[in-house]
Symmetry: D2
Subunit: 357 residues, 4 copies
């Protein structure tokens, strides 16, 4: 088993003593921080050098994060020995990454994987959008990576083949139901068990922030001649342009996103051709697979997989796509990206057993 | 408390001894049969004369149907004393009602409420489609009633005001998530707890049988000048006509349907005008209410209510509608219809406490 | 339907205009307050004169309490017109009732039903412990009533017949699993959906505060010659006396308490005799019933019932008892007590449909 | 990734081509069969040579077992090439293993791990009871192994230290709540989602078949001078001997067993001494850990761990023990035993990520 440094990181050698990849985690006491630690302690090539948390400094990770008792003696630290690590994961809440970088000096040779949305939209920065199914080569070469959002990952996995083929020429009706872990660990009215159990509701109707990155990808991937999608968050719905009409639901389960996307094609295409398009697009993907049968969410819960299925009715295409929001939708994909960034086996540490039941 | 006859119905007087409405139930051992009995034993104007079940004849109702212990001594019977009742509820599986009527002679003065889909589509029969929000007067006057389907009720409650106003001129993207009781009481793979718990899936994609009655209502209610919807179950999806694109989901809860309907209007309409349309349409409805706030499913679970809410984004209208599939989606609406058919208070026996949590 | 006064209570007549029982509620914005309102708006003999809540004054009850939309226009008020009511329900958190009474002057003719634990233990006060199955006559005659705790009700319903028969002469192994609504509406770590869903845990092991009232009842009910139980909360576990060994569990459901109690008799008693004891004890109870079959929790969820079942193995007796913690375990029993205190039908307003599924 | 043979096993070399351990699975289409495959495809030292299932012969494993799509091309076979494997797992239903062995000739050099209960009780056979925390050396040396039951594992993990210390001298009050996967994959009334969701019930009260193996272990482990426990399944409850009073509950979750055991000591022992006893007993255990804090079930779901916690009140000791019923309670422990039987790292293939949420 890989050795884990405790918070007394000063005694750690400059190089990992296993010769492994040295990892630091910021915001390590949150949901994504915890899930990242659960992955990394079993990753064959990684050692965690520090898990930073102001509020939990000195506490044992296994006392804070569910499911780690007996697995690690790691403690949280309030220090950030950047020079001792090869890569840092930002597990902050959204909007804090950019502020953090202004206040801290991270050595240029340390790679950064940001799980927040701060750098997902192209702009005045060098962060690569880390969706391996379309940006594998850029990811391998990058120093800084913006890990995609959970809904955004699930919805894009469902749409990428159509986008690239130039078949997206209509408004897209997207419904995506997410587990409660998507809402983070701070308790509130909509995560209260008494309310959420057996309940169903919608939120951020047509205004979910992941629309930014979804639209960015669709427009980037589409052939030049294709019509483009409007970023309705920026430009509003008073538009004659194409829109992604996204209805996010709160599900009464903890993990996973179940998504359906309905598209109207310009003209009818044989179902077998649409299926072939998907199979071809994902034939080399490490974790995204086309399913010949209809999907159910627990096929992916506990894993880093994305599964996609397509049905065709005349000119209407119905795509179903599913992921585990904390894994392929967050830290699993972050580890997949880390593997790519450091030339490791893309699946290292990610051969996870599906919960199945 | 109202007296309940046991299976030894021969000793019951021709007239109910409380002077109440005398009810017979066929298919009384199924889910809807059970829920109907749970309602009727507390209905102030009703006495159950017989609860017919071949397979359970002689068994105590309280031993078969959850939640009735201590409430009734009623037993199932294999007999059908039609002449002793004022109304019969058909709680058969779909397709059996028509066959049953061919084999049995029900007196003309006995009213029939059929919970199956056999007579929901207009044809060579005199059954009135029992959606009180549009057919109240026909229901009051009818002898035979076809009770609407659960999904069909929820989806229609969301669309009726727009249909009547002639605002439905585009394909309608419908998503509706149903509880497991919608699948009946026979155990199977998709109702196995180990599979369904925390799971999500779709089924009968674009082909759910309730499309028939939904399309029938939309076309019936629309102004003559409005375009009509295609019954894609009959005529297929190779059409340039308008379609209702219905994605039914299996939810991981037992009761309730949560539905969203997305429509594109011909031209933008002020949100306040759309809301006003809904409020006006349902101002006299006994159980359907417009909610100014976003909805969550447990607002209606355990009740006969339908709640509706609308959001508007440019030309897109997003409707949310919710019901309890066993109540407003089945036997609650059947009792509401019975109340109307016999001139009783429409709400009699239906002032139910929401489960709330 | 019964009229409900809104917060503008000044315009209400001194006597209820329906001639009904006039009710005031303090702490009306909490879980028990909400459930009480859900019951009382359908109670045929009651009108709610005021629903007091400092924090929610002016807000509509239906906007705060799930499941009331369309049922009532009642608003919360910050006023307390004691002289306009016949009875007041205290829905405070524990420990606040006594303090409240010191600061407020409630007319002597106004009856009080306290849902907190402040007056459940006999002492320098005139509150009757409101468990109708043993104190019916005292309840009918009382002015002030202390409503039993939820766990305490469920456990006592399981033990009363044995206690009265003098058969409790050993330590009692009690396990009781409660729904999340038992923890109130304030969100926290153990009511967070992401944690609680599919989870199981114990808390207040052997130290739950309801032990006080349970032990009080067992000792009060036992024949004089019987050994008595130690109140281990007061006197500790270093004792040779009899103890109630109570393991409370947090269940991953919202409503209900499922309880098993294991007792060792001094000598073997025929199972039929033990069953007969229970049937006889509860033969006149309005809501407590003996079940010949094994129990499952959803038989009582949504109702005011308590169900009890017994199995016998040699000298060991295993009792199962179940209730809905918010109804028979809280406000349902409070309304039952109200009915008794005012000479109404004990079941008025409490013929509730079981959720069943 | 390890290569998996498909059903066309004839082409497989006599030795695994990775030089790994060659495994055959009988009853591979059931719940435990599926979970075993989920584990073994990620086990670094194992190749699955055949997965036998009469009913599913020719079908792809990933089409039958949830969560394997994209992970394996393995197909079920109706053949049983015993000579090509090093070890066979029996994943039959209970009672079939013994019959199977009478009808089939398994080479003496092939090891057998039986997940059924057929050989758990000592008798005229050479099967070792595979609880590694007490029988590690026998397991390492054995040819045939009987894998413990799920409840039996969880309860024993809670009691072993007390048993060995001779502190078990009273009846033991055991409550254990199991997930629905404990009931297998055949759908039925008590695994129907509509019934089981939010429900709680008991079954096989005081008569669960795992009592046999629990009592066998307690008596075997106890010092000679200690009193012994009666196997009440064989000898009944009309006894003055010590009994294990086991109340099994059906939980409304899919995975896991949560168990409490209450014992009365002969005389008071300091809590710290009891805790020290547990920590010492499990100090070398690979998967069983003592927790200083109270437990919740999801700490172990998805893992092969058993966690144990103890509270002391006077002479009463309350033990809490938890496992995942399909892993430490079934196939995880079976793989742990396989690892021991073949001299592999005890944890190989079992460093599983807790589901946590």
């Amino acid at each position: 088993m890989n050795k884990i440094y405790n918070s007394n990181f000063q005694s750690s050698p400059l190089r990992g003593d296993r010769g492994g990849l040295r990892v630091g985690i910021l915001g390590a006491a949150g949901y994504t921080g915890g899930e990242l630690i659960r992955l990394l302690i079993n990753h064959p090539e990684v050692e965690i050098v520090f898990a930073n948390s102001e509020s939990n400094a000195g506490n044992r990770v296994a006392d804070v994060h569910e499911g780690l008792l007996g697995d690690t003696d790691l403690c949280f630290t309030d220090q950030m020995p950047f020079s001792e690590v090869d890569v840092i994961f930002f597990c902050f809440g959204h909007g804090k990454s950019e502020a953090f970088l202004k206040e801290h000096d991270i050595p240029a040779n340390v790679k950064i994987i940001d799980l927040a949305q701060d750098f997902r939209i192209k702009g005045n920065h060098d962060y690569v959008y880390g969706l391996p199914e379309i940006h594998r080569e850029e990811i391998k070469a990058c120093q800084h990576l913006a890990n995609p959002g959970c809904f955004a990952t699930c919805i894009q996995e469902g749409l990428l083949p159509l986008a690239k083929a130039g078949l997206l020429t209509s408004d897209i009706a997207v419904n995506a139901i997410t587990g409660s872990t998507g809402a983070g660990q701070k308790p509130g009215a909509t995560t209260h068990f008494s309310w959420r159990n057996d309940n169903m509701s919608v939120y951020k109707l047509f205004t979910h922030q992941h629309l930014h990155e979804i639209v960015q990808t669709l427009n980037e991937l589409a052939p030049e001649s294709s019509p483009k999608y409007v970023d309705t968050l920026n430009d509003g719905y008073d538009t004659d342009g194409l829109t992604v009409d996204f209805v996010p639901y709160r599900g009464d389960f903890t993990r996973g996103i179940f998504c359906t996307e309905v598209i109207k094609l310009d003209k009818a295409v044989a179902a077998s051709d649409v299926v072939a398009l998907y199979k071809d697009f994902y034939k080399d993907a490490a974790f995204t697979h086309y399913s010949d049968s209809a999907l159910d969410l627990k096929q992916v819960v506990g894993t880093n997989k994305a599964l996609v299925h397509v049905d065709v009715f005349g000119r209407k295409v119905v795509v179903t796509s599913i992921i585990d929001n904390l894994l392929k939708g967050a830290v699993g994909q972050a580890v997949q990206n880390m593997n790519l960034m450091f030339g490791l086996d893309e699946k290292a540490g990610l051969n996870l057993k599906a919960i199945a039941f």
